[in-house]
Amino acid sequence: MTKEVQPYGELSPDSVSVGLGELFVSKEPQIILVAYALGSCVALCAHDPKVKVGGLAHILLPNTPAYSRQNGDNVPAKYADRALLELVTQLEALGASRERLIFKMGGGAAVLSGSSLFNSQNNPLPSRLDIGRRNIQGILALLYQAGHYPTAADVGGQAGRTLFFWPNTGKMRIRTVGGEERDY
């Protein structure tokens, strides 16, 4: 997949923005993959520590809707069921072994139900809009079915996240709107 590589501060000379429904894999040591402004979306990251490759899928929904199947939607990482398969396939093409893959994930917030800014506001979302929770559950179920589990997960809550992933090392960094950062 060809994407524009942009400078990313002092952390690395190169970063790749992985947009909604996109997937990117790399074995380049200088590359950082970034999923900006995750709300209910989940970024699923995978890394093979032996061959030092990794990838990120920016997932919108847990399952491919019938509508998309009928109309040939061709966005590889939009739906978790297709994204996991595609992520593993592309990493294997770079020399990874699916048995060695380590998974990490971030996102799946219920942003619309209120943010930490408004502590008194905590409106539960109707099930239709509770997409973050469904994404987390769907991705975990897919990973378990494939014999994997996430070694790190920064998911849920009510705050949006920007996720950085170093495919060469498997490091994941989460940044929230307030500027707080957590490394995994």
Binding site: G19, L20, G21, Y36, A37, L38, G39, S40, C41, L60, L61, P65, A66, Y67, S68, Q70, N71, D73, V75, K78, A109, A110, V111, L112, S113, G114, S115, L117, F118, S120, Q121, N123, P126, R128, L129, I131, G132, A159, G160, R161, T162, V177, G178
Partner: protein, 210 residues
């Protein structure tokens, strides 16, 4: 969940819909003007059929911290309409201070903040704007939808909008988006009013606005 065939609008649908929607937005903004007791002007109005997955790119800078006032309106046979008012944090404070002049508080990184009362006032602004817009839809296009209570949220724009995008993606591949800017005379209040219809609502509007 309704599953739909690919939606292809009739050739003159967007121009017809633009006229219809503009009238609805003007009514909604007039209602907002009454709430803040000063004229709120529409500065720009853009109506476009956008692929759902391109919405974030089309709309805005996804990382910008934003205050969003969101109302979901739906009616099974008529589909859904997502209404979103987006303001920068400073503009949200300005609007809140217009709505509740004697309140003050603090937002991260700003000298003043939104109090609980101001957040309620912003939610009420969402209520009023959406009510007027939906009333126009019902009168002009016989499209009846029922709004849910508004949500007021502060986060990155992309994080606020991706739940809406996910919901729209469940129903189809395209969304009609109205993107408008508004301002008040003498005050730097600028905001975006987004109206996003799902496929089912688009088809109903296409049939109604002949």
């Amino acid at each position: 969940m309704a599953e739909l065939q690919k939606y292809d609008p009739s050739p003159d649908f967007i121009p017809r819909l633009s006229v219809f929607i503009k009238a609805g937005v003007e009514k909604a903004v007039q209602a907002l003007s009454k709430m803040v007791n000063r004229e709120v002007k529409l500065m720009a109005l853009e109506v476009e059929l956008v692929a759902v997955s391109d919405l974030l790119v089309w709309l805005t800078d996804e990382q910008t911290p934003t205050v969003g006032i969101y109302v979901l309106s739906s009616n099974g046979p008529s589909g859904s309409c997502h209404l979103m008012l987006l303001f920068t944090t400073q503009d949200a404070i300005t609007l809140a201070e217009m709505l509740v002049p004697f309140e003050s508080g603090k937002l991260p990184g700003y000298d003043s903040q939104l109090t609980e009362l101001q957040v309620s006032a912003l939610a009420e602004a969402g209520n009023v704007v959406s009510s007027y817009f939906l009333s126009h839809m019902e009168k002009a296009a016989a499209l009846q939808m029922y709004p849910m209570p508004p949500y007021v949220v502060y986060d990155m724009t992309g994080a606020i909008l991706d739940t809406v995008i996910a919901d729209l993606s469940s129903y189809g591949d395209a969304s009609l988006v109205l993107d408008t800017a508004m301002s008040t005379e003498g005050h730097q209040l600028r905001g975006q009013f987004l109206v996003m219809f799902d496929n089912l609502a688009l088809q109903k509007l296409d049939e109604s606005l002949t």
